[in-house]
Amino acid sequence: MLEEQMDILLGILYTILGNENWWGPWIRGVLGLCAMGGMMVAAMFAVWLERKYASDIQSRIGPNRVGGRFGLLQLIADAIKLFTKEDIKPDKVDGPVWAAAPVLMFGSALMMIIAIPFGAFIFNGTTYPLAVTQFDISILYLEAVSAIGIIGIFMAGWGSNNKFAVIAAFRNIARMIGYEVALGMTIISVVIVTGSLNIVDIVNAQGSVVWFAFVMPLGFVVFGVALIADMGRVPFDQNEAEEELIAGWGTEYSGMRFGLAYFAEYIHMVLGSCIAVLIFLGGWNIPGFIVDLNIPLLGLLPVAVFLAKWVLVMMFVIMIRWALPRIRIDQVTSIGWKVLLPLAMVNLVWAVMLGLVWPW
């Protein structure tokens, strides 16, 4: 009975969303809005998680007034506040550049959402990834689109015409470009082993053998460090070091403009952890013997596995923020170029050797 209903539902979904009709892809594009809404909720959840976790680490209580004991609605309240705050435009800012920066940052975060598969579900023994669209170069696309966010941050700092913001923008560029190369080289090492730039293929490749985090431990470590640096999290958040730079590139922003940029940052963090899960931690793959057990709601198990990994990675990233001190900007560049880049090269050699024998 349930199976039949699922069958009908899937049939309808396929006619609407498949490439059968000319309007199918367009509808899927608009469905990106749903993914976007989900992402907003996830980003809000990440902010809430961060505040709660931080307060736990620092032996505080954290948000506990709005929305029950755990302050679950605190972020809704914050969003409403951001929406209704005055949007102050300082006199000396470089108008167009300053106004375009949050739009660029937010837009780049939105563009990333569409290519990421958020888990998968099993139906009739086939696994369907939950992605708005799948295409051959999704990893390359994700890297390219996320790099637009860097330009947004630099525009924010430069357009603000504020000394703190400009210093933050300089530091930001120095940090981002230092780690972008190492990040790109570790991602390419995964591609070399799999021979495909499609994220879904990469996840499936890990299903048949083992997670890439285990076969390329060095690459995983380099990727993790570079990703945290790329997301601008502590210990690599010199661009918004509160003690010296007020609020970094965001000093001259207020109200919803700040909100957009802030949200874009958190979406980048959420999506970054998502990419880490997908390309190094096995994505939604579950061991084969569980599939044979035929437990109820098996079809949704991959999504659950994926979400669990995702939250764990996010919690790890948050934990690092509250456990490590911030390092200096010159140390940041020397770690990026003198440690991570050579390690990424070593990993590249290992990946080529692995790729020649993959899959075993």
């Binding site: 739009v103 300089f170 560049t333």
Partner: protein
């Protein structure tokens, strides 16, 4: 239209949405927020004093060097993308048997010359050092 093109249509739709949505948000915000510009409120934030000069100064040369090295290495990484996809792809191997070893050797030579020697050169020249 081929299937490959169809997969990119959602991206085009999302591109338009991503361009429109922030503007829509800002438009709504403009309607509902108060607007009270004042002389001191609109000054640049700088610890209470009037800022001296412009903030848009010239770059320190260290940043410039880092940017140049970054462009060099990022282009090299970009060359790796098409290579990684085709060096063991069955389609290519059917057309050119034994392509894999040739590709690996060629890429190794390229990487040693461009990446390793380039990195050592930039390192020795002090591009990654801030104070010298």
């Amino acid at each position: 239209m081929t299937d490959a093109i169809l997969d990119y249509i959602p991206i085009a739709v999302m591109l338009i949405l991503a361009l429109v949505i922030p503007f829509v948000i800002m438009f709504i915000v403009k309607q509902i927020t108060p607007r009270n510009p004042a002389r001191f409120k609109n000054t640049t934030y700088e610890g209470g004093k009037d800022p001296i000069g412009e903030a848009q100064v010239r770059f320190n040369i260290s940043y410039y060097l880092l940017a140049i090295v970054f462009v060099l290495f990022d282009v090299e990484v970009l060359f790796l993308y098409p290579w990684a996809v085709c060096y063991k792809s069955s389609v290519v191997l059917e057309a050119i048997p034994g392509f894999t070893m040739v590709a690996v050797v060629a890429m190794t030579i390229f990487l040693i010359i461009a990446l390793v020697i380039g990195d050592i050169y930039a390192w020795k020249k002090g591009a990654f050092t801030w104070t010298r």
